[in-house]
Amino acid sequence: MVNTLIGDLGHYSVILAFVTALVSAIAFAFASNAKELTPEQKDWKSLARGAFFVHVIAVFGIIFCLFNIIYAHRYEYHYAWSHSSNHLPVHYMISCFWEGQEGSFLLWIFWHALLGLVLIKFAGKKWESPVMAVFSFVQLFLTSMILGIVIGDLKIGSSPFILMRDFMTDAPVFQMDPNFVPKDGTGLNPLLQNYWMVIHPPVLFLGFAATLVPFAFAIAGLWKREFSSWTKPALSWGLFAAVVLGVGIMMGAYWAYETLNFGGYWNWDPVENAVYIPWLVLVGAIHTLLAYRKSRTALRATFILFITSFLLVLYATFLTRSGILGNASVHSFTDLGLSGQLFTYLAAFVVLAIGLLVYRWKNIPATEKEIATYSGEFWVFVGAAVLCLGAFQVLVTTSIPVYNAFMGFIGVKTNVALPADQIAHYTKFQMWMGIAIAMLSGTGQLLWWRKQKDGTKLSEAFMLPLIFTGLFAALILLVSKMGYIERIDNPVYILLLVTSLYAVFSNLAILFGVLRKNVSIAGGAVAHIGVALMLIGVLFSSGYSNIISKNMSGMVYAREFGDDINRDNVLLWRNAATDMGPYKVTYKGQYLEVEGLPDYVNKQQLFRIEDEYKAIARGPLKDGDKVLYTSGDTVNISPENTYYEVEFKNRETNEAFTLYPRAQVNPQMGLLASPDIKMFGTKDLYTHVSTIPDPNEEKEWGELKEYQVKIGDTIFVNDYVAVLHGIEQAKDTLLLNLKPGDVAVQADMQVLGERRTYHAHPIYAIRDRMVGRVPEEIEDLGLRIMLMNIDPEKGAFTIGINTTQKDYIILKAMEKPFISILWIGTLIMSLGFVMAIVRHYKDGKSGGAATKGPAGKVTIKREKQLA
């Protein structure tokens, strides 16, 4: 049955949300322009609020409808059909929700709606109307993206509530039967079936949504000519946006590290860059804002940067959703034909925001006084400039596909491509940005806090951190020279290491010296330590990432260009140990996930049946000592992913551990391999499968060889010894579906493999004088054994054996030294941000009255004490 009600309800909710956003934007704008405390303003405001509340309810309605469509497997809707499937666990249904463009817009809309409510409650009389006008205006733009209305040739938005029959009007199924409902969906992209994909998108979109808040305050400040007081609420919100966006980005990086197989956490993919750019600018904006609040400088820069950061979020949206990246990115969204609409919005916001800024430019107060080079603000300002340059560099390169599209639009054919070696290209600049940031964050912080204790000499503040930096740098370089850790001899890397250490120690000095008495204001120092640690983590894990799976077999296809070509993948035959780095590595078999069992189960222990999500246990399946399933039980399995058991044994210490890199052959996407990672204290060992024998290709069996044997006889096949122990009643009746009158026997055979002994039970059955044979396959050995014939009179048996190529995998393995420092640094940075938010929020509450006037003396003094 096609359920059109829920979709209609959803669609009407979208329209309602759109209309109420429009009403609310207009009404808040009028309220904002009306004279204060007049009945007129009050009326506009209550209308606007009412409209916004209805808007929020409508947004919840849309979400409810869409989730219901997914949750109830309503495949008459295209969204459910293309993003979900019957076998998807509930927590991944949440990921389906935002796998598509429409759902992710919806997620963004949802966060805006919530933040809007918070602002109505807490922004205060002065700010509510102008800020919410901006907010509602943005909501208008976002809801229109999922409107799904077609007027003539103009398509406005793409509705998530479109029915299959309306989406695929050409499909013959729907022409025959419009009420046809597919039985199953096409499923969620397997790479997104990861717990980080449940949490990463909401965090990222909350970051996007939060970036709007300081932007809205900046616009409101320009609009209402409140050039100074907007900075107070904008600071806490800006910090909030920066930490959420930053954490969102790093979650994405961690997901990529765990799930994708490009060998790292950051690939400079345009989609990653598109979020990194606004984040850098946002952090820059926070720094100029702090400088402004301390010494009334850099206000114009603050306006520019907050406005730019939001515009860059819009630009990121345009890049990733318009299809303009095309071949340049592996994971941008599908093009929904909305690029025109997206571009219109982007252009509108750019023109409006920059227009307003230019219009008010002369009115924005700027100081004529010169900032001293020994003041913290000066270096903070320089730091912001460096961050923006870093963002600019990524922007210029990431936009290369846009230049081509633009030139094509005006009729000039261009053929510019992204740099061939993107990582080298970006690293070249970003490493220097890292060095500059580390250097400035140390120096800037020391100078910033020095003012607190007047009279201390410059040299005193710098002495201790410099000594510690020198000592530690020397120590690390010494340890590296002695070979205990990676050998650091690249001068730029050494510089990055030293400056990062300097940043750590100068901020530690501040933490212990100046801030000891007041931990609550230490957020900045903590965040900077986190950033410096992240830089060190990146330096080691990326700069010294070391591929250990070098092909040492000496067998190469062709030596066209000598031996200097990297051969980074190694072939592992099943059960044959191969040397790799310090390890002896053995590929031992294929495993599957079985519901209820914590460990993976060897495929040889499962008999697969027609329903691919079920299998029959061929022996007891245990969790430790507890037997959960006995032979013959039906178990639920996840057939998509195969886990390849790979044992690593250290040749010196004999310590062994097992990794299970996984791969699945997806009908739509080919081989999807995800790594498995072993974490050591000083490094990660990261391995993934690069190629497997194509599972869809039939195995090529060698010629059948027949052996006449008696019980107790031995057969030699391919270096293996097989013994026939006896003949018994067939036990594996499951396979045969035996009926009364049928006769079935099985051979009891033993095969000695390299590692262990295998039991084989090929079956010979007779039903209605027809002979049936069920062979037994020993995948480990590449053997298939068949009981061909029985001669009861002579007591002789004919055993047929085929051999095939043994199973293998091609593996890539690399070591990532000290990657944990990157994750620890991320946590510390986030902690620092949170401390800063708490502190500035409290500060905003207690000092709210003092900032009313522009640059009043009282304010400055207060802030000097607190900054």
Binding site: A385, M555, V556, N566, L571, T691
Partner: protein, 141 residues
């Protein structure tokens, strides 16, 4: 001149440097003929080439060599560029699994002697994320 102006000039200088460096790092999409011409001039910069796999009348891919059991890091195939020029390409990595189904292939690399050595392969497969066919067999159920 104020310090802020000095900073401004420095920022602009770095920005110009970034743009210029990006322009020189940026690669180009070229046909094989141009890639060969570059190699002749001793220019070993890496380029992008867009093409399709060479196929016979039956649609089977021709000229593809990959034997992981012999050398997992050697994959060779023939690519036909947009000007219908054929070229042998060598890729010193395992063969991408969905390679056979790809409609369009973008390779990055340069010519070395008579072969094009690719260090990156981007595949464009039909309907990677958006499947527009419903399995009709379910209709009979």
């Amino acid at each position: 001149m104020k310090r802020i102006h000095i900073i401004g000039i420095l920022v602009i200088a770095v920005a110009i440097m970034i743009i210029m460096s990006t322009a020189s790092d940026a690669s180009v999409y070229v046909p094989f003929s141009e890639a060969q011409a570059r190699a002749k001039d001793g220019d070993d910069t890496k380029v992008h080439v867009v093409g399709r796999l060479k196929k016979d009348e039956k649609g089977h891919i021709v000229g593809m060599k990959y034997d992981p059991t012999l050398d997992p890091n050697y994959f060779s195939f023939v690519l036909v560029d947009t000007n219908r020029v054929e070229q042998q390409v060598v890729y010193y990595s395992p063969k991408p699994q969905d390679f056979d189904r790809s409609e369009q292939v973008v390779i990055t690399g340069n010519m070395k002697e008579n072969v094009f050595v690719a260090d990156k392969i981007l595949l464009k497969c039909p309907s990677k994320y958006t499947e527009n066919e419903v399995k009709v067999e379910t209709a009979s159920l």
